[in-house]
Amino acid sequence: MLGPQSTFVMYDEEFKRINFLIEKLLRESNSKVIFLVDKNGQLIAATGETEHLDTTSLASLTAGNIAATGGLAKLIGEKEFSILFHEGEKDNLHISIIGTRVILVIIFDQRSSLGLVRLRVKKASNELAAIFDELAKKAESETKPGQGESPFAEITDDDIDNLFS
């Protein structure tokens, strides 16, 4: 399977299916915001009331949080804590792990409940996990050597220098 250094690739088709699923989850769980983050802290997708949210920071801190609790889990002999729940005065945070490398984060308030969120997450998780599995397989088959499809195959030194000008 995927080594620690494998690139995480997202394609149009799967991106659409993922967004469709989290929008559905948003409606069915009555939540405010949903986002998906990879375990390294990179935002994969987000939906809901995200305009006033710093999703980049949220993504990085969520990954840090999962990494830290994962470290704690190992120390006490658990593989991982698959669900984290943080209760606030108005908003609550439900964090769960999908497959092996993706984190699902849901922000909800009193219009929903932990029970409802849990229930909806369970079903959506399986569907999302299936897509991420497909993605991993697809990325693997498309990055086999000799298939110079990468948009970066033709990067020049100038392109790189221009980034910093």
Partner: protein, 197 residues
């Protein structure tokens, strides 16, 4: 592990600043944050102790521009340098695409530099990575201070493979962007070769 998103035409790469306690990792990021245009940066997050020592990590997202129609983003992280935060350092290293080792050039920190470099290699190895296979640059920081180990000697001890190396003073900003640019370049060259996949 870089993240290439063909749907939103973005590519994200993770750069980690490593080095002994107080060598100036956080100061590097602060300088970059202060000198980067508003539209090219996100918020800088520092999870630090009351005395401003890094507790878990600093995080600075940069979106410098586009290459071939892809928005290129770099996520900069620092590790906590203090010896006893090793568990956290290991977590931050996960999925790293490029590394900067910030050495503290002050004489009395020579041993700390060497120890930190060995710690970096151990921690990478534990996760199945090798320093030699990663985009990697060296920075000799605090050049503005007296009592320095000569740079040639630091280089001999810390950089036997002669990866790109830079003298710097993170407080004044000397060498800070040169260092960042060098590691970013190595990462992009790596992507080009498809080595990152």
């Amino acid at each position: 592990m870089s993240f290439i998103n063909y749907a939103s035409r973005e590519i994200n790469c993770k750069i980690v600043y490593y080095g002994p306690g107080l060598c100036g990792k956080t100061t590097n990021l602060q300088y970059i944050f202060n000198k980067t245009a508003e539209e090219a940066k996100g918020k800088m997050i520092s999870l630090a102790t009351e005395t401003e020592r890094t507790l878990f990590f600093d995080f600075l997202p940069l979106a410098l521009g586009e290459i071939r129609g892809f928005k290129v983003r770099f996520h900069l992280y620092t590790v906590p340098g203090q010896v006893f935060y090793d568990a956290s350092r290991k977590l931050i290293l996960k999925g790293v695409d490029g590394l900067v080792f910030v050495a503290d050039s002050q004489d009395e920190r020579l041993d700390a530099n060497i120890e930190s470099m060995e710690n970096l290699q151990d921690n990478l190895e534990e996760q199945g990575m090798k320093l030699e296979e990663l985009p990697f640059v060296m920075q000799y920081n605090k050049m503005d201070l007296p009592n320095l180990t000569p740079t040639e000697e630091l280089s001999k001890l810390l950089n036997p493979r002669k990866v790109p190396e830079f003298t710097a003073s993170a407080v004044t900003g000397d060498g800070v962007f040169e260092t960042l640019k060098a590691v970013a370049k190595l990462i992009l060259i790596d992507l080009k070769k498809g080595a990152g996949s």
